[in-house]
Symmetry: C2
Amino acid sequence: MLRYVGVEKTKELIAKIGIETFLTELAGYIEEDFKRWEDFEKEPRYASHSSGGVIELMPISDGQQFSFKYVNGHPKNFEKGLQTVTAFGVLSDVETGYPILMAEMTLGTALRTAAMSALAAKYLARDDSKTMALIGQGCQAEFQTLAFKAILGVDTLRLYDVDVKASEKFVRNMKERGFDIKLCQSSQEAVKGADIITTVTADKQRATILSDNMVGAGVHINAIGGDCPGKTELAPEVLNRGRVFVEFEEQSRIEGDIQQMPDDFEVTELWNVFSQGVSARQANDEITIFDSVGFALEDYSYLRYVYEKSNTFEMYDHLDLLALPEDPKNLFGVL
Amino acid sequence: MLRYVGVEKTKELIAKIGIETFLTELAGYIEEDFKRWEDFEKEPRYASHSSGGVIELMPISDGQQFSFKYVNGHPKNFEKGLQTVTAFGVLSDVETGYPILMAEMTLGTALRTAAMSALAAKYLARDDSKTMALIGQGCQAEFQTLAFKAILGVDTLRLYDVDVKASEKFVRNMKERGFDIKLCQSSQEAVKGADIITTVTADKQRATILSDNMVGAGVHINAIGGDCPGKTELAPEVLNRGRVFVEFEEQSRIEGDIQQMPDDFEVTELWNVFSQGVSARQANDEITIFDSVGFALEDYSYLRYVYEKSNTFEMYDHLDLLALPEDPKNLFGVL
């Protein structure tokens, strides 16, 4: 029987491990997998676009295990009371082709995106970064924040969202977590004095969340929301002023904020940075930018982590998704 | 909550409807969908190959619904007591991106492949076809046989398999189904006097199950097993003697028996045939060949059929695969 970690079991697992430990350990798994980048068969995700959004399949394999994630992105869903992003993932054994884990990944995507962001910032942001501007208090905001707290020690937050209710929701969720939180009236105000700027907005269109005059020297920008064709958050001038880091260049040129830039615009893939094992920051006043789009390898790391932890804590269910006749040639006998 | 039709519910559904009615109705759904071929966004499947086999993702969308199937093909699995092919599928609503059905598709793949084969034969085989040679009595044999009985009225079977136990298993499963069955000592013997030849073997290599001298005038060949690069069943001479029909040309040139032929080798896509609504056979002595590889559209039709029938008979479970917070921006609140 296939192992199944749905929403309930994921919640139990996070409660058992503690979300900050979960994010820290998950970042460790992602780092480990990025360091063996060459082991993986990689390609840009499959995307089926419609007027309302996109449905994607994100496969990857290292020859031992195969994983894929199903994920949608539908900005208008929230008007219907639905999630903008929903996802689930499957981990399989390459030798037999059999799935070994199916897991919810709506929470999983928020968790792995946050872990990846904080991991990148660990290598790119200034060591003394304590203050984060957070533009957008949608579904990913709390996860991003807790990952930056757990992995970088961020303790001061400057918030802005066009939807005040979203900011209030964020404050309610985070009020016992020991942050110094300031609500701001604009993005301009929010970024003042920030060491790290996280943009995590959801519009499916070219937006300019950060313009050139807003970005001061020495800042690390964690740009999450620009993640599919036509959907960007940063002004090109911002990208020109900083050094840009991406997950998988081939995919990021299609989906990332760098889709606005010429094909030869210089970027660095993060696996190179992690493999060096030391900060990639070249000066205190340098601007660094993580142009995050989300890559299948992070989902693989998430599934690998959840598979191991669900085993350790015996927190999973079973699904009868696979027909398993006693005589393998007698599939008809199952009926 | 996501609707789930696992192995148990699929068995209940088939028992309720009756397998021959199920196959006939399913063929109707496939025919309907192929007739609106132009509505679908199509592309060759994603395939991750390894030494032991292949894992594939097969997506398709008509702009209203999206579906994909996960399927593996691992010929050596049966030595380990596992299925050569296992699969599951997901049907989604394009407007929201939300999955609405997850279904087992190991049985489903056998069912839709059989329905597709019999549907193609209805348009290609001679009207008086009653005798089928069946080369290979693996997992798909009984499904193929029952589809040809239900849709074409095939009542006489000539069997051959290198594994005698597989043939015996087939006879046990089919003995109450009203067939006249003859076990043969070779493929050569099996094809004698057959109106339809079905080849459904599993070796992942170039095999020659049918050579030129074995194929008589007027025969329809239903070639199932040649379905991935390097895996073929028919000698090129056989393909040259008959008219060849495929599901989706672009994919079949990579995966089908026609991978052995030049790029300009003439084939006809079956949606053209179904759209005419009349037999495509041009003469009683013509050889027709369905070079089946299995296309995502058949999986979509299967999922569409199962979704409707599971609704009608209320035969489904629920999965907590999707996190659904009351406030859509408060994903963190789920925790």
